[in-house]
């Protein structure tokens, strides 16, 4: 007897790989674990306008590159302009250019953003210690006093920044602070004070997302470096941190908009909130990233819908294996119920059951005539197949005339399988009588119904198509059940007499 260990290791591997690839897919590619899940997305329009001064113009506009948002679609409209988009990792920019611009000009950039929930901005390296700000003589002593006071009361860069912000926004300001704020904006003052103590901090431009807003401007925020991370401060609102309605449009220290050959340049934003299917969103995102590895969405639509059906078969097979090995139900034809269940998916359960019973009943009647003709098996089966097609055609026609649209789906039944089922049942009828036919036919229909219920489940359909790892799990389960040496449920009843009198 050889060791079973490699087998169990193999099954465990299948199981782990199946589960982990599914989880990876869910988390990394944002494929939703539940069907019908919705995500919010934002359509943001940026309108860059300037007045051309009859000379070549070049507009250099920064594009959002915020890890908190994925760019789903972006496009720029700018009649007459040449456009190039530089996809520099830290500094994405759109550059419009034209030989001669005169009068008011308008350039549009539209982007659809999907929140990712990754709100933290990691620093790409330790930033350099900033140059201390040189205070004007009138402000120096006031600034020094405030800075030293707060510095003494703080422990880290973060607590220093936090306290400074609180102080700037304090409603009962000290004279020193009032003086400083009269000469500086609160945001600038905050950064200057941090720089004076050598704390890395920078001004960034963010866009507050709010549904159906137009003519919005970018707002200045401050990022303070702390332990490999840039923490956002909203000084005027006395707020630390960020939420998922703020896009950091530009945060690498570059300008948002540079216009050469024009004057009065400005940028306005309008935005619209939208909900869309999480699944469609993640598919679009994967398309953008070329990261469709092992996704069936690469296939043409027709093959996709084919696979949607094929990938349900493992579920049906799993149900059959379970019902035969663990429960012990007898069916006519091992996997015939799975194919019947596949047909049920097209016809829906009740129509399918009625259609199946009608076809088989008619088929059995015809078959009983054929059996008196003493034909060879092959020709008899072939005759049954042709007759089954007649029956299906007839029922389809009748139900169409009667206006029963459900009846039309009867064509989805696998005819060869039906013919074999009829043949087997007919033999069973002759050999063992009608009772066995009902037992075995009923068992098959019962298994088919259970397989149908499992395969028709929305969640199951979603999982088998979007998380291919599930099929490894099913394989593992089938292999494990192939090792089951325990009693079947029906055997508990069958062998009952053996324990009754002990």
């Amino acid at each position: 007897m050889h060791s079973r260990k490699p087998f169990y290791i193999f099954v465990a591997l299948l199981f782990i790989i199946g589960i982990s690839t599914s989880i990876y897919r869910g988390i990394e590619h944002n494929v939703p674990f539940l069907p019908g899940e919705q995500v919010q997305s934002w359509a943001v329009d940026a309108k860059v306008s300037f007045v051309g001064s009859n000379q070549p113009a070049e507009v250099n506009f920064s594009l959002p590159n915020d890890p908190a948002f994925d760019v789903l679609v972006e496009n720029a409209t700018s009649p007459g302009y040449g456009l190039s988009i530089s996809n520099d990792v830290s500094n994405r920019r759109a550059i419009w250019s034209i030989r001669e611009a005169s009068g008011p000009q308008a350039l549009y950039y539209r982007v659809t953003l999907v929140p990712t929930g990754k709100l933290d901005i990691q620093a790409t390296g330790t930033p350099m210690v900033p140059e201390p700000y040189l205070w004007p003589a009138t402000e120096k002593s006031a600034a020094d006093q405030v800075i030293e006071d707060v510095w003494g009361r703080s422990a880290t860069n973060l607590s220093f920044a936090q306290q400074l912000m609180n102080l700037i926004n304090d409603s009962e300001q000290s004279q020193n602070m009032a003086l400083l704020l009269s000469a500086n904006t609160s945001t600038n003052l905050f950064v200057q004070m941090l720089h004076s103590k050598g704390v890395p901090a920078r001004i960034v431009n963010g866009l507050q997302l709010e549904d159906q807003r137009r003519r919005q401007q970018l707002t200045s925020y401050v990022q303070v470096y702390n332990n490999g991370e840039w923490v956002l401060f909203d000084i005027p609102n006395n707020k630390k941190g960020r939420d998922n309605t703020l896009v950091l449009w530009e945060y690498s220290g570059h300008s948002v908009l540079d216009v050469m050959g024009g004057i009065n340049s400005q940028v306005n934003f309008s935005m619209l909130q939208d909900t869309r299917s999480a699944l469609a969103t993640s598919i679009d995102m994967m398309m953008n990233d070329d990261a469709l590895d092992f996704s069936l969405y690469q296939l043409p639509l027709e093959e996709q819908s084919l696979f949607k059906g094929i990938l349900l078969i493992p579920i049906g097979v799993l149900v059959v294996v379970f019902l035969r090995v663990i429960v012990g139900i007898k069916t006519s034809g091992t996997f015939m119920p799975v194919l019947i269940a596949l047909a049920f998916i097209q016809t829906t359960l009740l129509t399918g059951l009625i259609g199946f019973l009608l076809i088989v009943a008619f088929g059995l009647m015809i078959r009983s005539y054929l059996s008196t003709l003493n034909l060879l098996l092959i020709s008899r089966i072939s005759a049954v197949i042709i007759v089954v097609i007649f029956i299906i055609g007839l029922f389809t026609l009748i139900s169409f005339k009667l206006g029963l649209s459900e009846g039309l789906t009867i064509t989805f039944f696998p005819m060869i399988i039906l013919a074999w089922t009829i043949e087997r049942m007919s033999i069973l009828w002759e050999e063992e009588g009608p009772k066995k036919v009902f037992v075995s036919g009923g068992g098959s229909l019962f298994v088919a119904t259970l397989a149908y219920l499992a395969m028709d489940n929305q969640l199951v359909q979603h999982w088998v198509f979007n998380f291919l790892g599930i099929h490894l799990v099913i394989l593992a389960l089938v292999l494990v059940m192939g090792q089951y040496t325990g009693y079947r449920l029906t055997e508990l009843k069958r062998f009952k007499p053996l324990v009754g009198d002990k």
């Binding site: 098996l377 079947r488 009843k493």
Partner: protein, 318 residues
């Protein structure tokens, strides 16, 4: 309560389907030897080569156009049996006990026309009864004239003796009696009565029909509680030597007692059913484990039979 708890069955040593398939058939029966038992024609030839008595062969029909030769084949017989060489579970076996100027009669007296026989043989050749639907051949055998000691035990059919032989040891046995329900066939799932037999003596222990205990034959009302199968020693020997013949570790042997020829080997089964446990009123697992745990040199047929008689005897449960 209609259901037993799994641990109760396990305590009684009941072998179940999955375990039989994985731990016994899968482990002890090599695939390459299957054809020796799945093809009854090969079984017959092997048995003859090993000096094991079998029912006499009237003829074999290999092709559809030879079907018409059957009446000529059986012209001098009063009865015959047509069976598929690769049939399973008793399917496709047609027993004709009376031939009367061109008309054939089944054991229950129903007439079978020549055309029906042709169609039946045609079905056999097309593989309707064979495992996996493969094309098959039809075997025509002489009818067994069953031993009068069984007179009254069985209804319309030949009682046959099934012995489970594990690694050459006969571990459990039963007598199968056909009934009206089983249409003259001795297959338990078709309604035959199974009578558990004591391995040591061939005495009846316990009887069931459709998995339920009975103490009388349902048709002949013959009491089943005090019968002994004759030629028991020979039957044990035949069964045990079938192990050498087909080299399958877990084997079901089906034998019949003929009036003139004594015990005949009817067929072998590489996947013997589990109902024999119900017929015996006990699980087979302890005996299988006993044989599995045995060490020492290989035993001869006589030694194995002696060992089995000593260790696998049981008390009647009537």
């Amino acid at each position: 309560m209609k259901y037993a708890w799994p641990w109760e069955l396990s305590r009684s040593g009941v072998l179940n389907m999955n375990r039989r398939n994985i731990s016994y058939i899968g482990r002890y029966n090599q695939r390459k030897f299957y054809k020796r038992v799945d093809d009854k024609l090969i079984t017959k030839q092997l048995a003859l080569a090993n000096n094991i008595a079998v029912p006499d062969l009237i003829g074999v029909v290999h092709e559809q156009h030879k079907i018409q030769e059957i009446p000529a084949m059986v012209s001098d017989r009063t009865g015959f049996v047509i069976k598929p060489a690769k049939g399973s579970g008793g399917k496709g076996i047609m027993v004709i006990t009376k031939v009367n100027n061109g008309c054939y009669y089944k054991p229950n007296g129903h007439e079978v026309t020549q055309n029906e026989i042709y169609r039946h043989v045609s079905n056999i050749l097309s593989g309707l009864f064979s495992l996996g639907g493969k094309p098959d051949v039809a075997i025509v055998e002489g009818l067994i004239e069953f031993d009068p000691v069984f007179e009254g035990f069985s209804y319309e059919g030949v009682p046959d003796i099934r012995l489970i032989v594990f690694k050459g040891f006969p571990v459990m046995g039963m007598l199968r009696l056909s009934t009206a329900a089983s249409d003259g066939k001795a297959n338990l799932h078709q309604g035959a009565v199974g009578v558990g037999l004591d391995i040591a003596t061939g005495k009846s222990l316990h009887a069931v029909q459709f998995d339920l205990p009975v103490d009388k034959h349902p048709d002949t009302h013959f009491p089943l509680n005090n019968m002994t199968v004759p030629h028991w020693e020979t039957l044990l020997h035949t069964a045990s030597s079938a192990y050498e013949m087909c080299e399958l570790g877990y084997l079901g042997t089906d034998m019949v007692l003929d009036k003139n020829k004594g015990p005949l080997l009817l067929e072998l089964n590489a996947r013997p059913g589990l109902t024999i446990q119900i017929a015996n009123g006990r699980g087979i697992l302890p005996r299988l484990k006993h044989v599995e745990a045995m060490k020492g040199p290989a035993m001869s047929v006589e030694e194995r039979v002696a060992y089995a008689k000593k260790h696998f005897s049981s008390n009647p449960k009537f």
